[in-house]
Each structure stands twice: as structure tokens, then as C-alpha cells.
């Protein structure tokens, strides 16, 4: 990304679950850290999320999922991004995700998964470091 521009982050909650405490805390923490945050809201389909990311010209997509549907939903998002030629958008995620699933999710090209108990400063540091490269 070009220097000087604020980092633009799309935060989304794919799937049917409405537990939005975590996603809102992260959205606010990123905003307080000087990033431009677009919160796509609840019940978003993978296609809606990818379209929004492209329309909004974001640098990264942050996905929150607590329902256990990550193994179905994350791969779809990665594949839609690829189809639309937008694989350069960094994808990271978080939520109730067992350790055993992390490796597989990262092999799809997801940059990082932040599980329960993560400090928001770790997410900010990660985005600052990764998006400056």
C-alpha cells in the first residue's frame, strides 16, 4: 500500500451468528489506532464481504466467527477473492477457533487467526507490520 494513506480495514461477521461483542471491540480498537474501519455488519455472505472489500478498496479484511462455521466460510471467501483478482487483500480472522484448525486456515492464505483472549494491541501491531511491507 502507498505510504501516507490510512490503512483501510473491512471488518465483517460472516454467517448466521450475531455475537458481535468481539468484532465491535476490535473495530473500535483499530479505529482508535488510526485506521479507517468499515464494519460490514451482521449476517454477511462470503460474496457480500468480498464485494464490499473490493468496492471499498480496503487493505485488509478482518473476519469474526464464533459459530464453528469457519471451515466452511473462510475457504469460500478466499476463493471468491481469488476469482475476483483481489488476492492481494490481506485476510485475518478471529473467534472461537480450535487450535487444530489454524494450520489448515493459514494454508488457504489467511494471514493470521487471533483466538479467544487476544490483546487488541497484538492485532494492531500485526496490521501495522504486515501492511507496511
Amino acid at each position: 500500500m502507498s505510504r501516507g494513506r490510512k490503512k483501510r480495514i473491512l471488518i465483517a461477521k460472516p454467517g448466521l451468528d450475531g455475537h458481535d461483542r468481539g468484532v465491535k471491540v476490535v473495530a473500535r480498537a483499530l479505529r482508535n489506532a488510526g485506521m479507517e474501519v468499515i464494519y460490514a455488519g451482521l449476517h454477511q455472505t462470503p460474496l457480500q464481504i468480498v464485494s464490499a472489500a473490493i468496492d471499498e478498496d480496503v487493505d485488509a479484511i478482518g473476519l469474526s466467527i464464533l459459530s464453528g462455521a469457519h471451515n466452511t466460510i473462510f475457504p469460500k471467501i478466499m476463493s471468491f477473492l481469488k476469482d475476483r483478482g483481489a488476492s492481494d487483500i490481506l485476510v485475518f480472522g478471529g473467534g472461537t477457533i480450535p487450535k487444530k484448525d489454524l494450520e489448515n486456515l493459514k494454508s488457504l492464505g489467511i494471514g493470521e487467526i487471533f483466538t479467544t483472549g487476544t490483546d487488541t494491541r497484538a492485532i494492531i501491531d500485526y496490521l501495522n507490520t504486515t501492511l507496511e511491507r
Partner: protein, 547 residues
Amino acid sequence: MNNQKDRETIESGHRRSNGEDSFKNLSGFKIKALYGPEDISHLNPETDLGLPGEYPFTRGIHKTMYRERPWTIRQLGSLDSPSRANERIRQLLKMGATGISLCLDMPTIMGKDSDDPLAEGEVGSCGGVAIDSIEDMRNLMEGISLDEISINFVSNSQSAVLLAMFVAVAEERGVPLEKLTGTMQNDILKEYQAQKSYYFPPRPSMRLTMDTLSFCNKFLPRFNPISISGYHLASAGATPVQELAFTLANGFTYVEEGIRAGLSVDSFAPRLSFFFKAHNDFFENIAKFRAARRIWAKTMRERFGAKDRRSCILRMHAQTSGSSLTAHQAENNIIRVTTQALSAVLGGTQSLHTNAFDEAVSIPTARSEKLALRTQQIIAGESGVINTIDPLAGSYYVEALTDQMETECYKYFNEIENLGGVISAIEKGYYARIIADSAFRYQEKIEKGKRTVVGLNEFFEEEEIDIQLREADPGFEDEKVSGLTDFKKNRDHALVKACLNDIRDVSQGSDNIMPALIKAVKSCVTLGEIIGVMKEVFGEYREDYIY
């Protein structure tokens, strides 16, 4: 002895120095080092506390409380498929559970059938059971005595449909409706405020709630048609005092609506029940439960003119705090759950659900669930706390805190009233703003080390002990979808269509929707089909996202 000076010395002695956050409870009240007679000098034991089982019920709703009957030990009996959930319910009862809560999977929560494209990957999710049709309800309830075992359906936007299925199955089995016991959570207001599994705008949702309330009032006198739930508000971030104030305000709104729907207050208020969180701060939780009963009793009598003492009784279910559990050193959660459960008992709950220690990571295993159940049995059987009723009454601290909870609640009641009532406050983003603020502050305190979380911001260890997690059944979704496909194929299609047309007509009018729903589910119409038609009539709700 200079009493005043001694007090000052005590107040200034800080063990820890978290600056302005020192010694605050979760509601943000500053807690003094010592409480004494002067803190409860205005307390009138007769009118403010009463005896157990007597107005204003601060000391508990029963004369004998747990000496006669312990609280209902209510654990989660849900699993992906209705028949597996049924098996689970029977196991829990055999292990000594005395009540059951049933969660739904995400598609059912969102009013979608298992074969809906948006349900993919989520059928049987979140430890919830997938209910598409009457067939699922039959399998779920098989062999379970509907007039003895109280099942708490954690069902909200789809409650009218689930109630219709429950009633239809009872009729098939020849169980008289007046004997049916159980609860529908059916608390739509907190969905807009916190839990977010709404479909329709608040007004039509409230109409459906009132239809179920009136129906139960007429035909299911032992059934609890609404469980007014603070738990979800607290899980979304509300502080304990906010949870208390918002929940009671929601309760009063249902009472107003019931009266507006033409019911007399004493005909339905006794069946309203509540659901609160037992969070980390031990005494704050006890004070919250006691204040809840007192505020409810006074308001029901003074504002709504309730004559029946049962209308003034706040009956509650409680659950330990899922949001306080940590993924790090997950076994520490066993201890958190124990102290939270104990506070719920000392607060006088009627029913309790203890969380399993692995819930911050995954759906619980049979082993962790059993441990959660045994935790309650140990408190009930071994700790001796049930031997006397409301043992903390008269405690300078507990009574002062109970008072403070009550006083602070009225500040929120006034704010809500000034916004034009609960529904209008929802539409103005009042709850979304307050809850997001509280959630953010809570996280901030943890990250700055101002609130201790053992194993996370204190006593952290790099190395994590591996715990055994439950494995989901990967074949379940396909199995459920194919079963539903067969079910839909083998029904009277013209009848299905006619039932859906009826539902559309009744939705557009103002008659009670329950008879049309019962007829439809008996005719094999599915949950997703019914909600689909209702959405055409009622529209769908969209919230403004505030964070």
C-alpha cells in the same frame, strides 16, 4: 476510640494500586473498605426486606427456599440432531439434572431450514439442535414426560412456531395442554439490544410475543411464555447494573403490552420469568438478584396495580458467565464457574445452569458437561449453604449494595423513559451505544492490567495444557438435509400451500396467529417456510451498527 479516624485509615489502605479503578465492582461502583451500621441506617427490614416468600421478596420468593427443594439444576440438553439431543436429555436427567435448557443451531435461530443455502456449514452448529419441522420436535421429545420435565427452549424470534410444534406434539401424544410445563425464552426486546437474532421489526415481533402470551394464558397455564433475559445483555458487554436495569425495563414493557393486548395484569404476570447472569463479582451478583426481586415487586404493585402476590414475584433462572471464561488455562474456568454458581445460590435463584470449562474453546465434551453438573450438586449437597434461608440478609455490605443497585437502576429507567420507552430507545441506538462502550471499557481494563484475569493478564504461561475437545460430526449436515428433502417430498403440497396462505392472511390481520401455526406445523409446513411468509408481510429489521 476515634471511630471516624479509624475508618479513614482503613479506607486509605490500598492493597493494590490500579489508580481510579481500585476496588470497583463490575458496575463501576466504588466499594468501601468497610461497611457498617451507618450504611444501612435507612433500611427498614420489614418493608425493604420482608420475610422469605413475602413482599417485596428481597429475601427470596419461597418461605422455605432450598430447605424444601433445591433450585432446578438445569443443564444444556442440546446437540446437533433431535434424536441425539433426546439421548442427551435422558442422560442428564439420569445424572441428576432436574431441568433442561435446549439451544438451537444457528439456522434454526435465524428461522432457516437446514436446506437453506445460507445454512451451509452451520447445521447443528453451536451445540444447538436443528429443528425444521414437527418431525424434529417429535424426535426431540420422545419418551420425555411433557408435564413433568421442564424444558427451557432458548428460542426467540421463532418462538411462536416452536410453541406450535410443541403444542402439536403434546396433542398427538394426548397430553392435556393445561398440564404442559416448560419455558420459551421468547424475549424479543433483548434480541435488538444485544443478541441480534431478530428477523422482523420490533412492532410485529412484539405482536407475535403477545400472541404466544395470550395463547399460553388461555391454554397452557403452567407454561412460562417469556423468560426475560439479561444474560445476553451482559454477554454483549452490559455491566451488571445495566443488565439489571435493562432487563427489568424490558419486563415492564411486556407487562404494558400485555395490558394493552387486553389481558388483566394478574392473569399473565405470574407466568413471566427472568434469566440473569452470575458474573465474576461475587457480592455484586447477590445484590443484583436481591434488588431485582425488590424492584419488580414494588413496580408490579405500585405502578401496575397487581393484586395477586404471584404477579409481584420475580422467578429467575441464572447461568454462570460464559463471557468470563478464558481459553488460556481453560481448567481455571472450573473455579470461576464454582464461585459464580455459589453467588447465584446465595442470591436466591430458582434455577441454575453452570457452564462447562471448555466453552471458550469449543462445544463442551460429555466429561466437561458432567463436571459442570456435579459442581451444582456439590454446592447443594456438601457446602451447607442451603441449610438456612438468605444467609446474607442484614450484611452491611450486601444490603448497602442491594440498595445502590436499586437506586442506579432508576437512573437508567428514567433515561429509557425520556427516550420514549424501550422500543424507541432501541431504534435510537441507545442500547447499542451503551453496551458497546461497556464492552470496550471491560476489554481495555483487562489489557491495561486494571482487571485481573488469572492465566491471561496475570500468571500467564506460554505453555498451554492440551484439553480434549469435542469433535463435531462431519456427516450430520448432509444427513439432516437429505432427511428434510424426503420429508418435504412426502407431504400434501396443496395443504402446505393453503396453510402458508392462512398464515399470510392472519399475519396481515390482528387475530392470534397460534391456531394457524399449529395447523401448519401439523400439516408438515417447516419453520423456514413459515418465517419466509411472515417476512413478506412484516418486513425485515436492519440495525444501525454502532461501535
